[in-house]
């Protein structure tokens, strides 16, 4: 780790100002991605702006139409929250699959979305559920939020405050893990929404999470695993490494999607 200056922000305005003042500053919430990168000396922010003491960023609220989760909500909180378990049980289950207990007790929803790791779980949920990411500046639909590997449309001094997940009729997430890192090799989130069906895939894409329109159209007609028979995603554009070739990932997208639909149907 290199030296850096630590700031504990007491409010969003102060945090925003600090980001504006220090070009190489980074926000820190749970730090479960950033700190390891800093320890390996692969990230070297000049300043860390700590969001943890800012009030009002970690609530979880269930309304009749949506589940609204504060950006600082820990994965472990989301996992055990009665509101999440009632509103979108698939999301509660997903949170319980992230990392290990230490990661889940520190890592946050906002941090995960802002980091946009191509193998992270939350981006698939945000895309499939049609979430809205609320920031200090605006409201961003999930479809417009992610912008490639570890990239989002967030501006340098923009901070996620909460995420609104519209309640689906049915949803499920199936994660096929990398045996070493335990990140998703392929994770598929399927949501049957009042107006549409969405299928979002994490882990597989060479440039981050993506939706599968062919699967969505087929499931729109018939929300059953059988509806996906004969359908597949092309291997082209998928990630390839020692744990999974692009072809294997493409195959797994189909398998996990069918399993997710089956799980959503209970």
């Amino acid at each position: 780790m290199y030296e850096f200056t630590y700031h504990r922000a007491s409010g969003l305005r102060q945090a925003t100002n600090l980001l504006g003042k220090h070009e190489e500053a980074k926000l820190i919430a749970g730090g479960q991605s950033l700190l390891p990168m800093m320890k390996f000396r692969l990230a070297s922010p000049s300043d860390l702006v700590d969001l943890n003491k800012i009030e009002g960023l970690n609530g979880i609220e269930l309304t009749s139409r949506a589940l609204v989760i504060g950006a600082l909500a820990r994965h472990a909180e989301v996992h055990v929250s009665p509101e999440v378990q009632q509103g979108i049980p698939a999301l509660a289950a997903l949170a319980g699959l992230i990392g290990d207990p230490a990661v889940r007790h520190r890592g946050t929803l906002g941090g995960s979305l802002a980091n946009n790791d191509p193998t992270a779980d939350y981006p698939a949920a945000a895309l499939a559920l049609g979430a809205t990411i609320v920031t200090t500046k605006r409201k961003i639909p999930a479809d417009e939020f992610f912008a490639g590997l570890f990239e989002t449309v967030l501006e340098a001094d923009e901070i996620i405050t909460k995420v609104s997940f519209p309640l689906p009729k049915k949803a499920a997430y199936q994660k096929f893990r990398n045996p070493a890192s335990r990140y998703a090799i392929v994770g598929v989130f399927v949501a049957k929404r009042p107006s549409e069906v969405r299928v979002a895939v994490t882990g597989a894409g060479a440039s981050g999470a993506f939706r599968v329109p062919e699967f969505e159209a087929a499931l729109q007609k018939r929300f059953s695993p059988k509806a996906l028979d004969g359908l597949s995603v092309p291997a082209e554009g998928l990630a390839s490494d020692i744990h999974a070739s692009a072809e294997y990932r493409a195959h797994l997208v189909g398998v996990m999607a069918r399993r997710a639909v089956a799980a959503a149907n209970g």
Partner: protein, 788 residues
């Protein structure tokens, strides 16, 4: 069996301090004025060093010294050596290339330490290391052992054309050829035994202190054998004479072989301590451990087994290429030779065996002993061949093994070893019963009903442990004898310290060795301390590896206890005013035979020191005895492991559904500790079969350099393991012990892969059979089926 004697499941005495954080590992030792050493390591697999610029770095804050290969050479230290001489078939000695502590002009693997930076703080050392500029001129690299042998492959050392270290063979080639001519069938297999990272939970560490007044050094080090480290550092590397070099291996968190060897980092840390006149610390981080610790396995083998019409084995022919990495590590040459080929007879009466081994250099981390060391590779060859032969011949795999079992002892194999005892049918029968072998068909149908594939596999392994009889290993090229020493010190108050040359880094010696003493002297286990790991306390010792501490280390303690008892009887005779020959020692009590006159062990211990009560000329005061024990033979633990796997054909994911191990370790000192050793070994064996694998890219970069890519087994990857034992006491040592430390890692890979290949219906499945591998195999089969 007393409550704390041999055979009792005594709770480990050392665990309280370990699990409460009160252990004292090398990194826990803090010395006044200590400074920190950081290694700058090669980023190239093979390159010439054209220039090292450290001027700017040396002026950075806190920097005390920057050492390069030239500095070490100026001190006339080194090189690092391999201590086991192997001769090629043509009689020429192995091509041991110079292994400088730090390279002078060429780097030969990614991670090789090149420059050492010593600074006041760890971060200052790291900062300065980043400011050191090394100019490299890249050279072509080779990582694959078969490729390394070919014409035109990059040559890594001048001394070794085509990277050949030795061409060695064992056995009778003509007899094997004759056997194959008579064969009714021949089973052939191409086998790759995958390279592994040892991954001890505590990364290596060294702290060196130099005393200029006495010109002596102390080295605290994560070592499995501190005396051997001192001997090599003194006699071969030339750091200091033995009497001016103290090596302390305090609590050590696992080794699996990787902490046997004498590495560059320890030497440099010692040199640095003398040069800066401050205690110097080097504590490896986890990433460093992936390249700083010797790797294990890495064989490419072609194996053939000849059988007659009845399934009796006629002969075995094995050709292996062993990848030893970029330099020869301390014991590397012995692993793919005398710890491998000598075990190729397995549990079977095989009339003719021939094994040829080519050892090669590659641009990879050096390879040396890793849990099992040669014996897992041998077991994998033999037990895969047995299973495949059984399937080809349509004979039940258990039955084929039974037909070939050695049943009378001693048994001389065609590959040096003379098995002293065993009962292979007993462990097979018990394992089959415990595994419910007969019920497999029903379980397979149940899996199939759920759309899953299921397979079962056996592994009837043997290992040579209790390493090792000095005569035998000396005649085969070992540079040191492999005896063990012990000293038993009885204090005036009756408590006992046992100084042992064995070293515990997870084995539980503080408990098991104390059990031996408690049972023998009839004193509470709390009154016994086991002292190990310090060359200033223990006179000498060969350390712990090769499942030797029970069979060899405890035998030395038995010899010392014999002497203590003999001396104590003399004291008791004085005390009880009887003839020495009339004194009987039983249950911690000295009694005059045929009388009720007696004295406790404690009373006799005290009187041994009350010299004013007897005449010193007749009886020397004190009660302390030492002994050296040299084993007469290896020991031969053996057993049978049964693995059942379930495979999800949609994803290729393999789940170990059931795992059964029945082992014959001879007499068991502590069944709970033995069970733990078996569990750990099986976890590493299953890890090798299904998960673990070192991957280099073609340019020699280590792809699996962290836990992001190197798959470490975790508890959730295993079912509950069914573990049991059979016992044939070892006739070769006083306690009847064979050893248990490596069995799981030796037996498990073959059992798992036999189960996986059974489930998949094809033999062509490489280790590790991870989900991608299995899916690829299934895809291949589906394509073949479609084509037909």
């Amino acid at each position: 069996m007393s409550v704390t004697g041999i055979g009792a499941p005594v709770r480990r005495k050392e665990d309280f301090r370990f699990i409460t954080g009160a252990g004292r590992y090398t990194a826990d030792i803090g010395l006044p004025g200590q400074v920190h050493l950081h290694f700058l390591r090669s980023t190239h697999a093979h390159a010439r060093i054209t220039r090292i610029q450290a001027g700017h770095a040396s002026r950075m804050p806190g920097v005390l010294a920057i050492l390069t290969g030239a500095d070490i050479a100026a001190d006339k230290l080194g090189p690092l050596v391999c201590g086991w001489m192997i001769h090629s078939t043509d009689g020429s000695p192995m091509k041991m290339a110079p292994h400088p502590t730090l390279p002078i002009d060429t780097v030969r693997y990614v991670g090789e330490p090149v420059v050492a930076v010593i600074a006041e703080r760890p971060d200052q050392a790291r900062d300065a290391a980043e400011a050191v500029v090394i100019d490299y001129e890249e050279l072509p690299a080779v990582v694959d052992p078969a490729t390394a042998q070919r014409d035109g492959a990059p040559q890594i050392h001048e001394i070794a054309p085509r990277n050949a270290i030795f061409h060695w063979q064992l056995g009778d080639a003509a007899a094997v050829d004759a056997a194959f001519k008579q064969a009714a069938s021949v089973t052939s297999l191409d086998i790759v035994n995958n390279r592994l990272v040892p991954n001890a939970i505590e990364p290596r560490a060294a702290i060196a202190e130099y005393d200029p007044g006495t010109e002596s050094y102390t080295l605290w080090n994560t070592s499995q054998n501190p005396h051997v480290a001192r001997l090599v550092l003194s006699a071969f590397v030339g750091v200091a004479p033995e009497h001016r070099l103290r090596v302390v291996a305090p609590d050590v968190g696992g080794g699996f072989g990787s902490k046997i060897f004498i590495y560059a980092e320890e030497v440099v840390t010692l040199v640095a301590a003398r040069r800066v006149h401050r205690p110097v610390r080097w504590i490896a981080d986890r990433s460093e451990a992936f390249v700083a610790d010797a790797h294990g396995r890495d064989h490419v083998t072609k194996a053939e087994m000849a059988l007659d019409r009845d399934g009796k084995i006629l002969g075995l022919r094995v050709k292996t290429i062993a990848n030893l990495g970029a330099y020869m590590s301390t014991f590397s040459s012995s692993i793919p030779t005398y710890l491998y080929a000598t075990l190729l007879s397995g549990q079977y009466a095989i009339p003719a065996i021939h094994c040829a081994v080519d050892a090669v250099y590659t641009n990879t981390v050096p390879v040396d002993a890793y849990r099992g060391a040669g014996r897992p590779e041998a077991t994998y060859v033999v037990e895969r061949l047995m299973e495949v032969s059984a399937r080809r011949l349509g004979i039940d795999p258990a039955e084929l093994r039974r037909r070939n079992f050695i049943t009378s002892f001693p048994h001389q194999t065609p590959v040096i070893m003379s098995y002293d005892c065993g009962n292979y049918a007993a462990s097979l029968d018990k394992a089959l019963a415990l595994a419910d072998y007969a019920g497999f068909g029903a379980r397979k149908r149940e899996s199939e009903a759920r759309g899953k594939l299921r397979g079962i596999g056996l592994s009837a392994y043997i290992e040579a442990c209790g390493i090792a009889p000095s005569q035998a290993v000396g005649s085969l090229g070992a540079g040191v004898g492999l005896w063990e020493s012990a000293e038993v010190r009885v204090n005036p108050t009756g408590s006992v310290e046992v100084l042992t040359g064995s070293h515990s880094h997870g084995q539980g010696h503080e408990t098991t060795f104390a059990q031996l003493v408690s049972g023998r002297l009839g004193i509470p286990i709390e009154s016994i301390s086991i002292v190990h790991g310090d060359t200033d306390k223990v006179q000498f010792g060969m350390g712990t590896y090769g499942s030797r501490s029970g069979a060899v280390g405890m035998s030395a303690i038995v010899k010392a206890l014999d002497k203590v008892e003999a001396k104590a009887k003399k004291v008791a005779a004085h005390l009880l005013e009887a003839a020495e020959t009339d004194i009987v020692f039983e249950n911690g009590k000295f009694t005059v035979a045929g009388t009720d006159k007696s004295a406790t062990f404690g009373e006799v211990a005290l009187n041994a020191y009350l010299a004013h009560k007897f005449v010193g000329a007749d009886l020397e005061p004190g009660l302390k005895e030492g002994a050296f024990y040299d084993p007469v033979n290896f020991t031969f633990p053996a057993g049978c492991h049964v693995c059942e796997v379930e495979i999800d054909p949609e994803t290729g994911r393999v789940t170990v559904a059931r795992f059964t191990a029945v082992d014959d370790f001879g007499v068991v000192i502590n069944p709970m500790i033995v069970e733990g050793q078996v569990h750990g070994g099986i976890a590493q064996g299953i890890g090798q079969a299904l998960m673990e694998q070192v991957v280099y890219d073609e340019g020699g970069q280590l792809v699996t350099g962290s836990y992001n890519d190197y798959v470490m087994p975790r508890a959730a990857d295993f079912p509950l393991l069914a573990v049991d034992t059979t016992v044939t006491p070892c006739p070769g040592n006083p306690l009847g012990i064979k050893g248990c430390g490596e069995a799981g890692a030796i037996a498990a890979p073959a059992a798992v892969m036999n189960a996986v290949t059974d489930a998949l219906g094809t033999e062509d499945v490489p280790m590790p059979a991870n989900q991608l591998t299995v899916w690829t195999v299934l895809q291949r089969a589906a394509r073949q089926q479609a084509a037909e």
